[in-house]
């Protein structure tokens, strides 16, 4: 599955894709800031990156799989176990219908209309995520430039 180029680029290519996904999730939170009963969501980035890079997360429980079909459910369980401990973003375990690394936020001050979007929190998360995206881009750019330097003779 891993090509030479994938190995060379390391985790940054997967991180970039996940950060792009997280941008969508946070943008949806900000767009629904006035929608009654909307529940804000965020990505458990550590679990998502571990799942995307195929590494088993040492801090979560893993299942021994006896069947190829079990592989996906093992990932689900690991994600749910990781969600049991609230992270800095205050994310709660996700529902079965969605990837487990997407969690619902636990609101600090729930609104009367059932909306759990905290505008300031979402704004800072969005800003942080876009900086992380730029950082991943910068890493990839550097790596690609190094590669070009190595390939070109002069």
């Amino acid at each position: 599955m891993q090509s030479v180029l994938d190995n060379y680029l390391g985790i940054h290519a997967q991180a970039l894709a996940l950060e792009a996904q997280r941008t969508d999730v946070l943008a949806a939170n900000l767009a629904n800031v006035d929608t009654p009963n909307y529940k804000a969501r965020d990505m458990d980035f550590k679990a998502a990156l571990a799942a995307a890079s195929g590494e088993s997360d040492a801090s979560t429980l893993t299942l021994t799989t006896t069947n190829q079909a079990d592989l996906t459910s093992a990932g689900t369980l690991a994600g749910a176990a990781g969600g049991a401990a609230p992270d800095a973003a205050g994310a709660a375990p996700g529902s079965a219908a969605n990837p487990t690394y997407l969690k619902y936020r636990v609101p600090l001050a729930p609104a009367l209309d059932g909306n759990t979007v905290d505008e300031q929190l979402e704004q800072s998360a969005f800003a942080e995520n876009s900086v992380r995206y730029q950082a991943s881009l910068a890493f990839l750019n550097t790596k690609l430039r190094d590669l070009v330097t190595a390939i070109s003779s002069s």
């Binding site: 941008t23 767009a31 929608t35 990837p99």
Partner: protein, 143 residues
């Protein structure tokens, strides 16, 4: 973001908030539109927002289900009874000399306006940031 969905998300937010701004403008403009008949008096209008969840079929796989655009499902009219004013000099007054003013809470409308305009600005910021991120991604590997 990879399938440009973020433009739909932030765009739907902007469109919903601008509907809200429009209703606020309409309510404020008609705050003093009196009528001689309580059944025909202007009623304050407020949009009803609804989140439309992604179908999970996009390029992002299941993560799509976590994204939601905003939809305006309708415009609700305030059922509050109109304010009765005694104004026999008004040509619209009924036989008893009363006119009926719409039940528009101007303070509520002003806070609604500020909230809508802040949310609109938020969505514009999201769009700008996402656009910058995409343009930077297009330049990946160049010089």
């Amino acid at each position: 973001m990879s399938d440009f969905k973020i433009f739909d998300i932030a765009g739907s937010g902007m469109s919903a908030q601008s509907v809200r701004l429009n209703t606020v403008a309409s309510n404020l403009a008609n705050a003093d539109s009196v009528s001689g008949d309580p059944s025909t008096v202007y009623r304050a209008k407020h949009p009803v927002f609804k989140a439309v969840l992604g179908d999970g079929l996009g390029a992002g796989g299941g993560a799509d289900a976590a994204t939601a655009t905003v939809e305006v499902t309708g415009i609700a009219e305030n059922p509050a009874t109109p304010e009765t004013r005694y104004d026999p000099g008004n040509p619209l007054a009924d036989a008893q000399g009363y006119v009926y003013a719409p039940a528009v809470n101007v303070v509520e409308e002003m806070t609604d306006m500020i909230s809508a305009s802040r949310s609109y600005q938020n969505n514009v910021e999201v769009l700008n940031t996402a656009r910058d991120m995409m343009l930077d991604t297009l330049k990946l590997g160049q010089s």
